[in-house]
Structure formats: structure tokens, C-alpha cells
Symmetry: D2
């Protein structure tokens, strides 16, 4: 079985494992206060052109999401998100478990707009009974989205301008950040993102690391006491250096970008093959997730050899599915898949 | 600086790293449903002589504690713990953050007794206003305790008998389980523990793994839907096999026991040196944590070369401190420390 | 200003005030354990033909809703509700504040169907990643709904059958219960409701009392320790007898029914006047809330003399609004309003 | 049975009932935005000499406590309280249910000192692992305490100075405020309290009202969005004017003070009788709660005719109990009790 089901089917980039092995018997202090974490923080700040940013390493994405969100909101506030947002759809209510409602906006492609946020905000405050309704307290977006789509620089500028005007901190979930940054259609750099959000994270789990997400807080108001919250929410790794070593490696010599670009290019080759074959695309993605709409018989045939994700039935005879590439995807497997598609 | 400060200063046992490297490019499903996790689960069930037990792998101890506790309690219930219990003292209120009070019992050495639990229970139910008071809903103990002390088989039998009689599930935090099992004074096996608790965990982070705690649920009532709770609490590792690989390795050929025994033996050598030097012992520990009471000038001298933990001032001229050994402690460092103590 | 804005603009039925005055200097025990509460409980059990039911008195509806819901659900579960349900739309996220997501179903008129519940349930359990999604744990309906609509006996039977089949406790919010029971279209008695739900409440605040909601728990599984939860959630009135006195009075000599019927009849006269005038109706309500769609100029004219609720703009020139009657509405005011409408 | 068991055995001061009756058919807006609430707010601001204070009316004390506390704290913070504090001992973990630990200080008489608060604060911040421990975020005191004792003006000045220095908002639970203010030993006025705390409440339930607590927020930082939190926590009474009417009446012509003074004087007569009889006093209270230590046979004898609260056994032959007077206590009952004590 060749897996295109997700972007976390393998381990880690070999340079990371190598570094872990080399440093295995070094003794360091715990909880992220070691030199590897410090070095990784410096490299991330540099990559973000945000020398004042706080950088924290958490183990996983759900944890990063609810830790950030619950650190920002007061009890009566909710987080605005696309209805398709990971926090709303795929985290077992982790945000609600911290006491906060997810205020959903409709979305066709996983993105939401500045205009939608403004409209929701104004609807809240113009309601004479607004004290009976959850107050919008921050905005969550993912980039790339769960549908592989990307915010343009202009869209993010608009979103951030509205968020600042309305006093809503903007939080970007970057679980697949690398694949967004290196997309051929990307108009955003890491520095742009750092400048156009209040807090975001750079995903490691899906982009070369064994695990780990680097939360970057640029808004000084949101920095206070964040380490307490990591600890309280179970995200403070005892051997914190494991996170430092991984991000230090990823942000050395452009590794994070290179491996992301590699995955994106393979995804584009898949996309080309789907289009050439005449398949529709559920979302027009230029990052590592691709969503072709397959005739059901083609889907069944491909399942014999490949694993991929069910997305939704689009009609009786077609099904949208998800194929992911990653830093670890073998080119030969992509070639085999393309050949098999052509042969259908 | 030679570190005796904690038992998580190094990485992982080399067999674990080796296995991670060997399997790095294998593709597996995520979230703990892979064959490595399955194999590790089987080995742990066998070691526990609990073929029906559910075994789950979580990343860290705080996470394991609050995930288990909040899965057991109803909203008006609290968890009974020694005042010194990790959940009460060192987890930034993670249990309270899930909505539950920690009901503390005094303890001189980190242990609590069956009689104390009964007394607290009876005090609650005999209070005519008991509905105005948090109801005891389960019991938490750690083994070894935060003070290095151990429950005897008889003590655990008594505790479990009382817990069953009173309908209070018994949960054992085994962050340092290995060091307890292999202590020269231990009267408990893993199978004993599985038979005398409702849920417990086997610590990996402090006993040879990079990270990871294996939660073992023997009480069928507590098994239901536990994976939802892991996910909601941010403890479901995407690359779950990393946890499987580690525990599979630790529970192959007795590795977990061997490395624990090694650490305990080094701790006993340290203890002997402390006693020989005439130092008092804050707690009479036979596991990997040792708590000598040092004259302040000795403490300052040792600090120049060794790191160790401050525990408490016992009088103006003496301080109790903590030295930890672990699977990774080098024998030569113990020898050096002993020599330096003798020379003081 | 004559108020039709809500059904809680006045105080209480005079018989309630009279009883409060008569008993003012009696000394009773607190917290709902007094003879008045006991008498009210007996009368409610009799009215429900549910001699085994537990009956508890809480101060208000939001409190009753989140106390019941959080007492039923485990942490990873959510409550299924119409998107228009009070718990989702107008309680400032009180349910989420207890840690639970509201799982919303679309609704045109405030009601949801058994088929919708089944579909949501099956969608959850057929999702291979269901552990990453909030599990449906119970169903919430309101009767009458926030839109004045009513469940028929057949609809409630279907809903309850599905809920029992799927293991989802069914909870009915009866903040306006009386107005539903006495509607000319009602096919449900209080005994029917007690037999076709697991827990529900009988609203006092909007139906003759100063305040107070009587929670009736018929499912034995849900009874346990409910008083602890009332106390923890701030709903246990020290002078609990005030709730007992009110419900005892309301359930003596059919007062609750009589005053509800009176309000419904006035509402029907209003509805008739709206229809006669040619206004559309946003919802086809046969209970005490009426939702005419007014030409904007008519609306502005009526506002000079009457208060009523804004509901939504239906087009540029029309607005749906809400008029409520209650036990306290004066017939002369209804006549005046009807005359003013006719004169427009 | 003559009840001295608590201070909420009767209804309300007759002037309150009278006003409720007079206004019963008036139509007002709901949720505390009516003219009665506004009038009561103005009178309370005047009584507090705090023209800028926000005043909110909640139904009960537990609700007021957890609503205030959870509005102030961030998730990783706890509230400092005497171990005997109502929030720690008698509210079924309501504070923990909002996610926050109660950080307890030992207390002999229900009071805590500025020095204790400073010590706890310094212990927290000097702990090198303080991020692993709940951060003190505010201070809770009750006045009178649960033991009837009172803070002097000097003590409160010291406490508030320390709280301001350390950045810890000071919250006073005034469930029995009136009985404290009018005690013969009181050195605090309402204006003093408003000037020496950040937020406090004036108890109505135990001092003449049917129910209700007036929360006064003087610290501007704590005012924001408080009404959302009242609603979310189930404390926003639909017929909010009932609270306004009660507090408006209590703060007209000094009623609140007069009825409190009356109860205190009766309590002093009881105290005198206890002392004269040679009974010890568990706490030296000068407010409406009295805690004599009775020989067990005397206690049993008195129980035949009077109800009073069990406090604790002081030795095999003696028991500390609680007698409460209130605004509603009949002088003749106090005389009867005194005569019966003398006759023992």
C-alpha cells in the first residue's frame, strides 16, 4: 500500500534524527530552556524578521490551537473561524472544552474574508441583546486551509487591517505553513505573516519533524505568562530540547523551505495528471493537498494500491478525495500513481 | 556541569533511537492505530497480566493525569490526592482547569493511607450539607511518590479495598514506575499494580523514552471513549507510532526493568554515601530520587560542579536537596560525586 | 408605552405574592428542603403522572439549561440543538462555558426532526475519524420553540423513539411550557411530555411566577447527585421555599393552565388581526409569541405607542417583529393594539 | 421549633414585599435595565461614596463569587482565600468548575493577613519552577467572615496596600456585609470598603431581601463586559427589577443599616448569655453569628426547642455550635433562648 492519505505517515527528515542521535547523551535543562530551543527561537525570529517575537514550541496542532485561543479570550468571548476550520471540525471540541464557542462563518474553500469578519462583528454589536450572545474575541484562520487553499498577501492585509480596527487578535494555524509558503502561487513570506497576524504557528509535524509546532507571538499583549498556559494544557515537553533540535535543524540552511517546495512540486504533478485525465477538482489547491473528483470506479481501482482520504460524495457516480504529498513522499510513488491514473 | 537535577536531562535509550531510524520511512496510519502501537499494547498487557486492559499512549505526564481524571469524574466531584501530589503541586492547576477540585490529604512522605481516604469520604457523607461540598470521586496516588517513597503491596491492597468499597476509582501516576518496580524494597509487580488499581500509567519520559506515558485502564467502566478524550486534550500524537516504537522497545527483553534497576542501584550508592557522611535524609527513599539534608556550605561547594534540585530549608544551616539518577546516569559521574562528598 | 416585547415585563400572579406575604415570617430550612417545595414537587409529579420523577427548582432558564446539559454529558460530547435553539443563540455561550459544543441542526421554524437527529448521529459514527469530532451526547429541544412553534405528539414520539434507540437523552426546554400546553393546536399534555423525554423543565418566569423553572427528571440515570450540580452552578436558592411557594400556587386549582390559556387566546386575537390586515407571518405560531411581517411604515407608527421585538428584515420594505402576550397582558391593551392596526 | 440555624430562614423585610406588590403590574424592560435597578445603583454608589462604581445585581452568593472570580482571572491563575473561605469550603467547587484553583491560606478565625498574602506571592515568584504552579491572581476575603469575625480598617488598609503593590485585585464577599458594618466593633464604613477593595458585594439574601447580592466594581479594569459574564453564568434575572426594588428599598432611609444593627444587638445579647453561663466561644464574634461551645447535655436539651448549626466537636464533652440572628429574628425568641440557657 502506497500512502497519500495524509502528510504524517512517515517519521522525520534524516537530518533531524541524526542531530537527535548526536546530542542524545548531552545533559540539558528541561522544559524548553535549553540552548537548542534558544537557537531555534533565534532562527525563527530571524526568518520572521520579528526580533521581538516570543517563540514557544508545543507538541501538536490541537494543543497549540486551544492553548493559544484560551490564552487570548475572556470567558464570554468566542473565536471566529471558517465552519471548515480545524478547530471547529476536527479537534473533538477542544476549544469548547476550554469554555469558548467557535463562531463559524460559511466558507466554500476554507477561507474567510475580512468582510465576513466585519459583518459578524457588526451584527453582534448592533444586536440590542448582544450581552446574551457570545462576543467575537479573536479570529482564527488556517494557511494553507484544510482545503489546500491560500490567502494572498492582499487578502491577509485586508483581514489584519479589519482585525486591528475591531480589536480582534488574528491567529493563523500554520500546521502546513511550509507547503503554503513554497506554493507557486504564494504571495506571502514568513515575515509577511509575522507582520500581518498577532500570533501564528509554524507546523513541524507535517513538515519534516517527528512532531512539534512553533508558536510565534508578535503582539506584546498576548505574550504574558504563555509558558504557564503551555504547562497547564499539557504541552510543555519535559525534554523540550527535542523540539528545539527539530526546529533548529529545519531552520538551518533553508531545510524547511526546501522540503516544502519538494512536496508542493510533487503535488502539482499530481494535479496536472488529474486535470489531464479530465477529473474535476473539489478545491483549486496549489499546495500539498489535492482534491480530485474521481469517478467511483476509478476510485475503487486506485484503492487497491494507494491509500488516500475520502472527502465527500459529489454525486452518485463521483467522489471527491484527498491526496497529500509531503517532504517524505517518494518521487517514484508519484510517478507510479500518475501512470496508473493515465492507464485507467 | 554534571546534572543530577532531574531524570529527564538526556534523550532516549539508544535502542529506541535506532528503531526510530530503522522505521523512519515506513508509512503507517496515524494516531496510534499502527502496528508498533499494537505490538507495544500487547507487550504491556502481557507484562501486566491484564489481557483485557485498554492501553493508550500519551505524550506527557501532566496530560495523562488530567486526561484520565477528567474522564472519570462528574462535574461536582474532585480527586483525592496527597497535598504533595504532582497534580496538586506541580501541574499549574491542570486538573482545576478541567473543572475539578483536588481534595488534599496531609502527607509526610508523599503517601496517603486507606484510612485517610475513608475518613475523608465519611466526613463528606456525614456532613448534612454535603451537597455544598465537592464530592470525592476518585483517588490519585503516585508510585514512586514525588518523594521517592513506595507503597507496599499490603498498603496498596488496603487502599484498593477501601476504594472499591467506597466506589472511588483508584488511579496511579507511574511517571517513575520503573524505578519503583525495581527498587530493592519493592513488593509490587506490574501485574500487582494492574490488579490493584482501576487505571494507571507506566512512565516513559523519565525511564528511557524520549517522551511518552502508557495509560493502562483495567476497569471496564473507565474505558469508554477514552480516545476522544486524548484527542480533545491535545494528547493524540499524529505520528502515534513514535510512542508505539518506544514502548515496544522498552517492553522487549526486559529493557524497561533493566534500565530502571541500573538507576536505582546508582541511587542506592549515593544514598549510602550521604548516610556515611552523616547527612540526614529528608525522605527515606529506595528509588531513583534521593533527598539528603546538606550543610549549607557543603551544598554550595557541590553546586560548583553538580546541578541538583533545591527542596526546602530544614533549618538555618541545612537544606534538603534532591539528587536524581536515571537510566542515562553515568556511573563515573556517581563515583565522582561520591568522592567529592567524601572529600568535603 | 404598552409592552408586547417579551413575556416577563410584569411581576407575578397576585396569588403568588399573596402567598409569599402570608408565609413571610414562617421559618423554614433552606435550599429547597422545605414543605412548600415538597408540596410543589408532589403536585408537579401528579400533573406529570410521573410519581417517580425528581423535581428540582432553579431560578432561571439559562441556568436550568446549562446545569442539566453539563450534568448529562461527558467531556467529549455535545448537545444537539436547532441552530435557533436558545442555548445556541441567546445564552452567551453558557453551554460552551461548561466545556461542551452545541451541535447545530438547521431549522426553518425552530423545530428539529427525528430524521435530522438520526442523520447527524449516523454521520458521526460512520466517519472513520469520529474520535476527532465531538460526539453527539444528548438532544435539546424547546417547546414552544423560540419561534412559537409546537411539536405534535407524533413528532415527539418519533423524536423520543430515535433518541432512545441511539442512546441520546432527550431534554426539553419548557421556558414557555404553559403557552404550549394550552395552545389550541396542542396535542401534548404534561404527562405526554414527561413520558416522551428524559428531562424537561416547566417554566415559571414567563408563566406567572416572579422567577423559577421546575426541572423534572424522569430518567433514573440522570437523577444522581443533581443537587450538587445545582449548587455548583449557582442555582440553589438559599430561601428555596420562594420557588416552592410559587410552583405550589401555580399547580393549585389549575392556575398554571388557566393563565397560559388566557395569554394564548389574546395572542390568537392578535394573530387574527395581523392576518386580516394582510400581514405575512414569519412563523405560523399558535402560542403566545406572534411574528407578523410589518411594512416598515406601519412598524414605525406602532412603535410610538407599543414596544415589541425586532426579529429580522425580510426585505427592504418589511420587517418581521415579535409580539408576546403573557398571563399579565391586559385585554384592553390587546384591543387597543388591534384597533391601531386596523386604523393603519 | 425556633430557628437560629441560619440567617435565611424567613422571607423579606415587609417594605420589600409591599413595594413588589405595588409595582407588580408595571411593565419594565428586563435584565436589570429598568428604573428600579437604576435607582438602586445610584443609592448604592452614594452609600459607597463611589460615584464611578459599576453596580450589578445577582441572585445569590455562590453565583456572585464565581462570576466575579472567573471574570478577573486568566486560566493559569488562582484565587487566594482562607482555607475556611466560603468559596473553598461550601460552594461545591464552583470556582474550580470555572477552571481556577483556590489557593488556600491557613486561618484560625476566618481572616487572612496582608503578610500571609505577601508570603504566598513571594513563595510563588521565587520558585524557579513557578510556571509549573498556579499563579496567585487575586485575593478573596469575606467580611464578616464565615466565623463572624471582622477586619479592622487598619487590617484592610494593609491588605489593600499589599494587593495593589503586588497587582492582585482584592475581592470582598459581603454576604453578611450589613451585620459587619453595624457591629459595635466595626471600624469600617461602606465607603471605606469601596475605597479599600477592587470589587465587593453587599449581601441582600441574608440581610432583609428575598434574595440578591449587589456587586460593586470600583476598579475600572474589572468593569469591562461584566454583564456578559452575569448572563453566561446564569445570574441575569429576566425580571431584574425584582433585584432593583429590593436594593432600592434596603438603601432607602437607612433600612439596610437599621435591620442589621437590630440583628447584631440580639446577637450580642445571646453572646452575653453564653459568657455569663460560662460557655467558651469558638470565635470571638461581634456580628450576627455566635459560636458558643456547649456541654453536650446542654446542647441536646436546647435542641428540643431550638434549631442551630453544628460546628465541630471541641472535645469529648463539648461541641461548638452556631446561632444566627437576622433582621427577622423575634426579640421574644432571643429572650426565651436566654431564659432557657440560664435555666440549664
Amino acid at each position: 500500500m502506497i500512502r497519500f492519505q495524509c502528510d504524517y505517515a512517515e517519521g522525520a527528515h534524516p537530518l533531524i534524527l541524526k542531530k537527535m542521535e548526536e546530542t542524545n547523551y548531552e545533559q540539558t535543562v528541561g522544559y524548553g530552556n535549553d540552548p537548542y530551543c534558544e537557537s531555534a527561537r533565534q532562527k525563527i525570529r530571524a526568518a520572521c524578521k520579528a526580533p521581538e517575537a516570543d517563540v514557544h514550541f508545543l507538541v501538536g496542532g490541537t494543543q497549540a490551537n486551544f492553548t493559544v485561543i484560551s490564552s487570548v479570550l475572556r470567558p464570554h468571548q468566542g473565536v471566529v473561524s471558517a465552519v471548515t476550520g480545524h478547530i471547529n471540525a476536527h479537534e473533538t471540541g477542544a476549544v469548547e472544552a476550554t469554555g469558548h464557542k467557535v463562531l463559524t462563518l460559511p466558507s466554500d474553500d476554507g477561507k474567510i474574508t475580512a468582510a465576513q469578519v466585519r459583518e459578524l462583528y457588526e451584527a453582534h454589536w448592533s444586536d440590542s441583546d448582544h450581552e446574551h450572545v457570545v462576543q467575537p474575541g479573536m479570529v482564527y484562520i488556517s494557511h494553507p486551509t484544510e482545503n489546500g487553499t491560500l490567502y494572498s498577501k492582499e487578502e491577509l492585509e485586508e483581514m489584519y487591517a479589519v482585525c486591528r480596527e475591531l480589536g480582534l487578535p488574528l491567529f493563523m494555524d500554520g500546521a502546513r505553513m511550509g507547503y503554503g509558503l513554497m506554493s507557486q502561487t504564494s504571495t506571502l513570506t514568513l515575515a509577511d505573516i509575522a507582520g500581518l497576524t498577532d500570533v501564528f504557528y509554524i507546523g513541524g509535524t507535517k513538515v519534516g519533524a517527528l512532531f512539534g509546532e512553533a508558536v510565534v507571538i508578535t503582539n506584546p499583549v498576548l505574550k504574558k505568562d504563555f509558558r504557564y498556559l503551555i504547562k497547564q494544557n499539557g504541552g510543555m515537553l519535559a525534554k523540550g530540547r527535542l523540539l528545539g533540535i527539530q526546529f533548529d535543524t529545519l531552520f538551518t540552511d533553508g531545510l524547511y523551505y526546501d522540503i516544502s517546495k519538494y512536496a508542493d512540486e510533487l503535488a502539482m504533478r499530481l494535479k496536472e495528471a488529474f486535470v489531464k485525465k479530465g477529473y474535476g477538482l473539489r478545491y483549486d489547491s496549489y499546495s500539498n493537498q489535492q482534491f480530485p473528483i474521481l469517478p467511483n470506479d476509478h476510485m475503487e481501482k486506485l484503492k487497491e494500491k494507494y491509500s488516500f482520504g475520502f472527502w465527500e460524495k459529489t454525486d452518485e457516480e463521483h467522489t471527491a478525495v484527498r491526496f497529500c504529498t509531503s517532504w517524505a513522499t517518494k518521487e517514484e510513488n508519484v510517478q507510479a500513481l500518475i501512470a496508473d491514473i493515465e492507464a485507467l
